[in-house]
Symmetry: D2
Subunit: 254 residues, 4 copies
């Protein structure tokens, strides 16, 4: 039985690509995303066409029980979850406080903070029993600095970062590796950045910095680091790591 | 008409003491707390007996509209809010993940993060119109590191810290001073630490480090720094400051 | 006998102004600077003309023994040093690595890091014996992030910040208050920024952001915060605080 | 011609082990250390006995020109340096300020900060001309917090961390990958920790946490992460990463 890599937030960017990378490494990839059944099917078939194994599920993390139930079902029906990639985002672009609704602020927390806590509640006891497991959390610059207009996103990601630290403090000595991956730059991801910019804008950005100049974070390359984190020996674990394109400015520089 | 200092979270520790300090400085202190009408009366009368002016209200920040309505009523009936001290905490002690309920985790966020956002939503437009205002946010070590058992508290305070940064980024140039006060140590506060430890334990801690040795943070002394922050000239504002007793170890040392 | 406030790095900006503020508070200000005897005389006479008391010395912190000897002489001849303001900078502007000489890199360390260590070596034993004292260290953004071209300055200030933490760890429990003041923005200081920009450029910047708009850090206003730090009760000490103009962007925002 | 991996600070712990790992990956390892010619010979022969290629040199980084000359000689006689591992430490144990001599403080800076700057001065222009290169810098907890007694070490490592950031800011867009590896725990290294604790103490610590429990950082496992960093695609580079044993507490937790 293959070990399972569960991806929560499996779009065509980081989530789907990292899932596929783990599948190539011998994991069964379980891909979960909120919508776009067709896109999900494409990801799963892409993995299978390479000889890998995967399953796909629609999962709306705003709903109660769905994360918990999915984890239970995967463990029962597919196999032990060895790796979780928690990849849900809540970036809604820059909005002044006046234009940030209560609903948007709460949704940020529900998706980016509370859903990780729910995931941990469901998966950590199982990993703890097995004495091992890996939880990889995609994070963003907003976890370490609150920029103008990022009220919802920064509050959610800042809470998420601290939650990763409390999870690590409790579960690292029990053999569960929690890693907070600070993605500090624009990702070449059609499902998120692409939708935010629109097809033309995204194509323009890609041409300006993307393929040739490697100035956008390429998910296929990022996946190597996610995989490396999951393969680190427990005597030398990473809890926090940043990633950005060589030509990009780190968040702390101006 | 006196300027108003609104305290959200006015127990007998930081909140009530800082409120009284501002009252001595000529502000009308509006003290809000969740419960203990008698304790609230004592605080208000204490201020009045010193010749100051104050009002007290019970306010449960878990409830919808109560913050927003209180701010509107204060502005209408008492006067312009020049200073807000946001002092709600959500420390529930150390609990393993298994013992941290969904309800507790959400409550942490509602009190420590969402209530600040609601406060800002209600008060910032008024301050912006007047071109000035101060929002002082009491924070805790959990805002910068996630310790074992602090799942709810750290996630909430980490989100709050980032929210303070996004508020500062938007409103500082508009004349609103947002300051994040990192209280990094035990406070000599009967309503919070006192209740957590019980009367005997609290007395014991006080005797061990408190009065003579100044080893607990004394609210009356902390109040001087809160006041100083509110009095800083806009050419030299502080956004983040830490406070701890001289004999205590900073959070980053072991 | 008046308590002494020793200022190492007393130009016409932060150093001289903070010294004068402490003099108004009843301290004898000892102002030390590398050069410009005339400028030093003006500062001392300015303090005296306000009824304060001050002394001035030229002191080149690159030279051996001069800091140590000055501290010994002040203690012997003037009185116990209660407050040190360590205000030496080593900003040499942005320079690519190729244009940063060994000499410049070493000078940054000698002035901004080693001179603070020498100061602490000389003054801490005396303060420790008296059970009290305050060391205020002016710092810069370069202490927390290394920007392009800041090789010498950032390395020196980063080392200085860690040194402040080790000094605090050892001496805070002994009654010595060490505070690291992160000056995160341009200061309205003719002796440093003024010289860097030249008279016209400085005047232009001043007009653009300075007086009316309070967009440069005004030393006279900063001095209030330095004084407040020295007056904090030992139950509520600050180790790190940032300062910037309301209209300026904090270092972490872009 | 093999690419060169130059190790400055190649003891039997991280330096020698990472050098050997790169040699297995096809690099020619150039191992430099201050003393112990016999130990150096053992490392080189160990690499060669595995079919790898290596050279060893004694190099005292306190001396002028030796780093610069070694880099020039390696480039001339062996080949282009693709990877530098800068691994010099300056940990001298915990010492009160009174017991930290000027000499020790300066030596910390010369080895841990200035030697990195000298290395960068010598190697960056060559890497820049080739449009690629990797500089891996082993760092320590003291780079991010100043503990009691760490005056020399923390000041040196804090400066080193900022220097890594300024190097990154200037050279990352030119294709040079600078990574700051925060080693946050005790390393199973006979040449450093072993010497500090003495043979018995080291054996005891090893037995308590070492082999079976993986509670000390094992250099052979750390080497995988160093190698991964050097192999990251330039669209997804890491500048800062932490490493510690699963059972160890991160520096920010108490």
């Amino acid at each position: 039985m293959k070990p399972v890599c569960l991806v929560i937030g499996a779009g065509a960017g980081i989530g789907g690509t990292v899932g596929a990378r783990f599948a190539r490494e011998g994991y069964h990839a379980v891909l979960c995303r909120r919508s776009d059944e067709e896109g999900l099917r494409v990801l799963v078939e892409g993995i299978e066409s390479e000889g890998g194994s995967a399953s796909g599920y629609l999962l709306d993390a705003m709903q109660p029980d769905v994360i918990e139930d999915r984890i239970a079902a995967v463990e029962d029906e597919i196999g032990p979850i060895e790796v979780v990639l928690f990849n849900l985002g809540a970036q809604i672009g820059d909005r002044p406080l006046a234009d940030t609704s209560y609903k948007a602020f709460e949704m940020g927390w529900r998706l980016a903070t509370f859903a990780l806590y729910r995931t941990a509640k469901a998966v950590c006891p199982r990993m703890e029993e097995r004495g091992k497991g890996t939880i990889l959390v995609t994070s963003a610059t907003a976890a370490v600095r609150g920029n103008k207009g990022q009220h919802s996103h920064a509050a959610a990601m800042g809470g998420r970062r601290m939650l990763c630290q409390t999870l690590n403090a409790e579960f690292s000595p029990k053999g569960i590796h929690v890693a907070h991956v600070l993605v500090d730059g624009a990702v070449d991801a059609p499902d998120t950045l692409g939708k935010m910019l629109g097809p033309e804008g995204f194509q323009k950005l890609r041409e300006a910095r993307g393929q040739e100049h490697d100035g956008l974070l390429l998910p296929a390359k990022m996946a190597e680091t996610y995989l490396h984190l999951a393969q680190q020996h427990r005597s030398a674990w990473t809890h926090e790591i940043d990633l950005r394109a060589y030509s990009d400015r780190p968040w702390w520089n101006h």
